[in-house]
């Protein structure tokens, strides 16, 4: 029995059942993530409705170019991740590994840009709790805006870092020949996770970077 054949844990009757359980299980986990990030979106929405002017003012301090590039970077990474799953299903090991490595690289590019943005914010004294200076008119609500900016993008970045770790695991196991057309569940599951993290950013970008740009 080669390593690439379906591995079946003892509690399952067949590999189909195991695959279905994993699939549903990962979606249940993603539902919890929707609610987890959702709590922060809730806070953001509440304060944006209370302080629209302050939020617009604060949002204009963010670099829309870097935000936009990062959005494109993540969209590319979702594409390469979907391609990775596609390659795994087709049994193309080398393409699988390349796609996974590309996804990781794009993730690292995203994080690099993100942390450079954080550094710029620090220099501009826009980091609540550490170094925050703002015009008196909007001071309190702007600090709230930036609190949510750092909390939400920070939590998102943490999920990206975890994702890159998971991708490393996939690369290592792909090279060991652990995946095949009949068994590549971990690739699919981590793919779902990666796409989800992309979706969070799809909402973060307009809500944080594109407020009141027309003003």
């Amino acid at each position: 029995m080669s390593k690439a054949e379906a591995v079946r844990a003892h509690q399952f009757d067949d590999s189909g059942q195991q695959h279905e359980a994993s699939w549903i299980g990962m979606w249940v986990f993603l539902a919890t993530e929707i609610m987890f990030f959702g709590g922060m979106f809730m806070g953001y929405i509440l304060y944006r409705s209370l302080y629209p002017a302050a939020f617009a003012n604060a949002s204009n301090h963010l670099d829309v170019w870097l935000g936009g590039i990062n959005t494109a970077v993540l969209i590319c990474s979702s594409f390469t991740m979907a391609s990775a799953v596609h390659s795994a299903a087709a049994g193309k090991r080398r393409t699988l590994v390349s796609c996974l490595l590309l996804t990781m690289a794009l993730g690292l590019v995203f994080l690099g840009i993100k942390f450079s943005e954080y550094y710029v914010k620090f220099v501009e004294h826009l980091v609540p709790g550490i170094s925050f200076v703002y015009e008196q008119r909007f001071a309190g609500p702007a600090e709230i805006f930036f609190s949510f900016y750092f909390a939400m993008t920070g939590m998102h970045a943490l999920h990206m870092i975890i994702g890159i770790g998971l991708l490393t695991y996939l690369v290592v196991n792909s090279l060991r020949g652990r995946f095949s057309p009949s068994y590549h569940t971990p690739v699919e599951m981590i793919g779902l996770y990666w796409h989800f993290v992309d979706i969070v950013w799809i909402f973060l970008f307009p809500l944080l970077y594109l407020v009141g740009r027309h003003l």
């Binding site: 844990a9 003892h10 509690q11 399952f12 009757d13 059942q17 279905e20 359980a21 549903i24 299980g25 249940v28 986990f29 539902a31 919890t32 993530e33 609610m35 987890f36 990030f37 959702g38 709590g39 922060m40 809730m42 806070g43 509440l46 304060y47 209370l50 302080y51 302050a54 609540p128 709790g129 550490i130 001071a139 309190g140 609500p141 600090e143 709230i144 609190s147 949510f148 909390a151």
Partner: protein, 546 residues
Amino acid sequence: MNGQPVARREHYLNVSYGVKSWLFTTDHKRIAWLYLVSVTFFFFIGGLFATLIRLELLTPQGDLVQAETYNKLFTMHGVTMIFFFLIPSIPAVLGNFLIPMMIGARDLAFPRLNLASWYIYILGGLFTLAAAAAGGVDTGWTFYTPYSSIYSNTNVALTVVGVFITGFSSILTGLNFVVTIHKMRAPGMTWFRLPLFVWSHYATSIIFILGTPVLAISLALVAVERLLNLGIFDPARGGDPLLFQHLFWFYSHPAVYIMILPGMGVISELIPCFSRKRVFGYEFVAFSSVAIAVIGFLVWGHHMFVSGQSVYAGMVFSLLSFLVAIPSAIKVFNWTATLYKGSISYDAPMLYALGFIGLFTIGGLTGLFLATLGIDIHVHDTYFVIAHFHYIMVGSAVMAYLGGIHFWWPKMTGRMYSEGWARLAALIIFIGFNLTFFPQFVLGYLGMPRRYHVYPPEFQVLNVMSSAGASILAVGYVLPLVYMIWSLRYGAVAGKNPWRATGLEWETPSPPPTDNFEVTPLVTEEAYAYDAIEPEAAYAGRPAHV
């Protein structure tokens, strides 16, 4: 029969020995035991805090402890009891043990995740115990801002981190249950043949999954605000303390349904068995579990009627809170109808079940009082609220937990507990409970506020009654600890099905083999087929009570 060793047959308890075989187990039945020991430990810690509270409240003056210490006592009592006892209790102990067996599976869908859940729970517990050891927390288990996020000088961050971590234990358990129930039922086990215990745990798992993450984020924001001096909840800097309350109660209201739904599932198993009758209205009971879980997510604002929430929102939440009572009432009606013309026996599990029905009715009805805006203005933050939720949490949930432990004890251990002592303990608990908490309805109605270590002298008589009841209750809780442990060595050996109950778990030896079933069961009967069992046979082979 006493003291004779069980004939040597391999089962989940003796298949391997040693600490490592327990700490690294992936067997859902062993993990249930890990939880059983842990939750019992936290129950007595929470009980210790309660003892100190009731001792202080014997007198109107603050003579036992200072106000600040008292604040820590009721906070730690709430945190320990809710997050480390009530929420895990039935799901993590009985749910873990029974769900795979009840559906005819060998284990849960993700056994290693199940073990991880327990370790995460323990880690969270250690953080919280550390906070207690370091001087405790005084914010109330509700951690309201801005007191918790800015002004309190106690170990808030440590405690909320502990609760945050433990939340993931719940989430993973809920995930495991949902996937297991969907994908691992034995052939013939359709949704409407499932025991109602499984339905209620499915509903509970919905709440675990969709509610707990919001608690996590609310506590994380408090911790971050405290540590970094942000202004998210600081009114002086434009923050809204009500944001915290919305996020907190969005989880914590459904959390009370996490605490009661599994108990309802236990009752749905006990009532038919000890009435020798099918459950009346099975589909209604099943659907009402899900309805409670869903509607329970729509009512959280009833905790915020006087917090600054808009009156309009208050009205909406009040109306929805009336609605959520309906499925609970449906269950009570159906259990009662099951009892009607049943062949009732009064074994200890049934005593707990009957007590549950009465006490849950009182607790539930007083909940409607609180849902009524006009009444709540007067009784909010009084002992009326405390009495209400203790009737549900203690009078109902804890009694259901004990009833379930007694009922499934022979299956879990292969031994019968002492029926005489069990009935005595159930009676003592019932009396002690009512003496403790009924006076609190009166106290609250008369205006005694909660979370105060002093009170006007005219309230002393009722407070003394309550503390006296608490001491009786304490005795009642210690008794099972003693006779259950005693039964492990000296209890009568139990067969496969000492209660002549229906359900797949009773068709396998006691204690069960590691994989639960020698052969995967094929289900052909509806649940609770008690009318298929001859009446005489129901009494034959009953356990020899010690």
